[in-house]
Amino acid sequence: MAVEFDGGVVIGADSRTTSGAYIANRVTDKLTPIHDRIFCCRSGSAADTQAIADAVAANVELDGIVMGGLPSVKKAAEIFRQYCYDYRDNLTAGIIVAGWDPKQGGQVYTIPLGGMLIRQQFSIGGSGSTYIYGHVDATFKENMTKDECIQFCTNALSLAINRDGSSGGVVRLAVITKEGVERKVILGNDLPRFYEG
């Protein structure tokens, strides 16, 4: 998931990669850098999303050099969309592109399965997201501070992890601002706990 705030974005993800019911990787890093201030959250097929992210990162790096300065988050999202739309019948990729650029500040763009592109104030994705639509709709407020966004993400991800078999492990967060990228990890035992009956 990803959330915009004034000055940047907070992105977060769980760390479980499954092959059927087997947890192939319990400490996955699903927050992938595309450029210095642009990240993406990958859901769906690990192979598909890694391949696309690599291609987009190469493209965006060139773009940054050619245009001079930090590439726009929107441009990176458009490049993602082109791959996801043109090859929609052959891909299983749900991607959230989030980052900061000098022109528009913090931005979150979602590219779900069919390859549409939309900017949102916050976005959730992946199999676990179905369990928290009600929660995020009830809890989200506009103009949250950076720390409120971090708590919003942590709580939402914990709730999803506790219900979805395909989600689990640790919560990885990244806060992207003009100053840089601050990465955090909240280990399994330190996650907030809610009703578990």
Binding site: S15, R16, T18, G20, A21, Y22, I23, R26, V27, T28, D29, T32, P33, Q50, S127, Y131, N162, R163, D164, G165, S166, G168, G169, V170, R172, V185, L187, G188, N189, E196, G197
Partner: protein, 260 residues
Amino acid sequence: VIMADLMQPFWQGGPSPGLFYEYPGKWSSDVASPSDARNRTSQPTVTGTSVLGLKFTGGVIIAADTLGSYGSMARFRNVSRVMKVNDSTILSAAGDYADFQFIKAEIEQMVIDEEVLNDGFFMSPGAVHSWMTRMLYHRRSKFDPLWNSVTVAGFYNGESFLGSVDKIGIAFKSASVASGFGAYLAQPLMRKAIEDNGDNLSYEKARHVIEECLKVLYYRDARSYNRYEIAVVTKDGVKIEKPSSSKPDWNVANVVRGFE
């Protein structure tokens, strides 16, 4: 030859074929039809994952987590999959939870019936295991299985008992048993412990192995939950403990960055 000629009835104006004798399939209740689908467990709905069982000197331990999964959803997180049969036997099931509740009700009634007889006899763990085997195989043979892997454990006549039966009636006894993911992840760990201790595991060691296995299953089974019940049978009877949890170690996450 014209096919139409072959499709004519044998006779006309007389009794319908098959009217005066019995044959298999005469009555629709004998034959499975699509309308019978409601009476067939063709797929499990709410399911429990692995069950572990391990013998030690003086008794047996079994363990199962308290999750009832609804597909990939962790729907019922506080469900008990272990039951006490009598003072010398316990039983646990993986697979469909409704079928487990059915088995539980049947066995509880059998225990009541025994008590009512008041002859001082009660089912041995071996007897329960045999009954489960017959029951599950019978249902499988009717194409209406109870979709479970059942583990029976007990202590009777000074000896530990541990047996397993699955939904197609495969039954056996062993020093360690595990169903579901446990068969792949926990069984090797349990067998190693038995081997390293010369088949003479103490309660403490067995307990430690089971808890290690439960931790590994929580790491690697996407249908597991970090709350489990452990039950122990010894000569002193049955003890089904309150649910507890593993203490997983996630520190390795700090070492990982990206995917290359």
